[in-house]
Amino acid sequence: MNMDLKVNISPALTFSWMKINDDHIKLETGELGVLDSKADIPEGISVSKGDHDWSKVKAGCGKDVAALISDVKGDIPLFETAKDKSYSKPLVLRLKATAAGVYKAVVKLAPGSELTVIEHTDSDIPEGFAAVSVKYILGEGAKLTLVKSQTLGDKFIYIDDMGSELADNAVFEAFRTDLGALKAYQGCNSELTGEASSFKVLGSYYLRGSQLLDFNYIASHDGKMTESDMRFNGVLKDESMKTFRGTLDFKSGCAGAVGAEYEDVMLLTDGVGTRSLPIILCGEEDVVGEHGASVGQIPDVVLFYLMSRGFSREACENMLINSRLNTTISKISDEEIKKIILDYLKNKLDLRSIDEE
């Protein structure tokens, strides 16, 4: 299969010469199959198969990716919570990438229910293509915490095409840690249709070599008093490249909505590239939208402070990378997945854990 996918298209376009409105994935791969998946399902969650609402919930990567994933035959599991039930154990999805495969699923939270989903994607092989698309549907007052991580092989192309719909007072909080793959594309669309619904995401990443990470996050505020907050802390090294597109889309009628998007990017070497396209679209007057970005090398004052406590420059970098990644790794409550991540940091990235015994 040879394909040219237009991916992560910004909802509002800027000058085309900036080459930031979208990206393209040139894909040469064999027949797409289904990723190996293993789910630890807490008691009281029902699982069924079918399309359900997977195709109805819009994700963030765009039509080409949606069509590519949709065309792959295979069951789409639906994980569904019971009304008003709070789950103490998380739903854990372990995805193992093969040469070329996709995984799609729907997680539906019934009104008043609370659930944590831990999703991890990795591979035993260095090269391949993996596309993951999980759609989240939150009923009234439902509360979802999503903890995602990815440690794919060094030459993988990875697409994460996520979508969500939130009813009144629903709360969706996501934490993600991205470390692997040569080229990673994250598209995320969150439809805040219900009043006072809330979507928050905190992401961390560490790119090195010639890795590329391309984001497209959209918070679509339809409901009144809705809230969104998108924050990403990253580290770039060598010739790695990051493109961030973040859109706060305040639709007409979303009075009282509040949205924010922030980026903090630490640059360790001169050869890295970082591009940002923060967009605030206002179809409603009574809203508050904020964006901010901090991009640069480690500030001298921070470096001196840490060095004055006995850390070498290299140890300071190690610690600052760790501290950024730790803001999201610390949310992984599954010990097995946490160990995979910490081993990856230690063995693959030579980052000694700051919590090592």
């Binding site: 406590r309 610690m319 700051i354």
Partner: protein, 252 residues
């Protein structure tokens, strides 16, 4: 009989970076082991620059002179190596490090300085005890360094680091500035604890006599326009508090 030498500044001249603006001029200073020295001077005299230069801030360049610490010339050493030899500086404006808790930071710093792994249990026991001394709720140990801390909490966190890292020489750069009366008392208690248990040396940069009340001051150095213009025993602090720096600044 004077104490054995810990720090000696020999004819030290230092300035800021490439522009070479000289701030400190021919400073000579000697601190013995276990001694407490106080640096006083008007605003902009170069007191903090002196602290930074001893600690090894790369912003300041030494154009002539030497820093001898514990018998070794450390003039060319970077800040981390000076810290490992036993020098510690409290910052006037301690920085925030999101994602790194005080507990993680201190355990790692202690390991760097001691050059050995330190067990969590042993470290946590010591941390609890020091936090008690400073009336610091233990929950602060699991908060990110200085993130969301008030001015007083930041200063207390600096003293916490001092007591945990047990340096041979602690340079306190206006640790008491901006603190209310109670916070000054807590910080003073921490400094006394450092002196009591560690027999360490202190170089205190301050405008405030309150922080010195519980300490025996061996020597006071008055810095004006980057030079040491007067020296004396602890009574000089009182004299300056009464009469200010006018007589020293007029002489320059």
């Amino acid at each position: 009989m004077s104490a054995e030498n810990l720090l000696t500044l020999k004819n030290l001249t230092a300035g800021v970076g490439e522009a070479g603006i000289e701030i400190l001029h021919n400073i000579d200073l000697r601190i013995g082991k276990g001694e407490t020295h106080v640096i006083m001077g008007p605003n902009g005299a170069g007191k903090s620059t002196l602290g930074y230069t001893i600690m090894g801030n790369p912003l300041y360049e030494i154009s002539s002179g030497n820093i001898i610490f514990d018998g070794e010339d450390i003039t060319a050493l970077t800040a981390d190596k000076r810290a490992k030899k036993g020098i510690f500086l409290t910052f006037q404006s301690p920085v925030e490090v999101p994602g790194l808790t005080i507990r993680q930071f201190l355990r790692n710093a202690l390991q760097e300085i001691k050059g050995e792994r330190i067990k969590f249990s042993e470290f946590n026991r010591k941390l609890r005890s020091v936090m008690d001394t400073l009336s610091f709720a233990e929950e602060y140990a699991d908060r990110d360094i200085n993130v969301g801390f008030s001015g007083g909490e930041r200063k207390k966190a600096e003293i916490l680091q001092l007591l945990m890292l047990e340096p041979k020489l602690a340079i306190l750069d206006e640790t008491d500035s901006g603190l209310d009366v109670d916070a000054v008392k807590t910080v003073s208690a921490g400094i006394s604890e450092y002196k009591k248990n560690k027999d360490g040396s202190l170089l205190i940069i301050t405008h405030n006599a309150a922080i010195l009340e519980a300490l025996h001051v061996d020597k006071v150095h008055v810095v004006v326009k980057g030079k040491i213009v007067a020296e004396g025993d602890g009574s000089l602090v009182e004299e300056i508090n009464r009469n200010g720096f006018e007589r020293y600044t007029n002489e320059q």
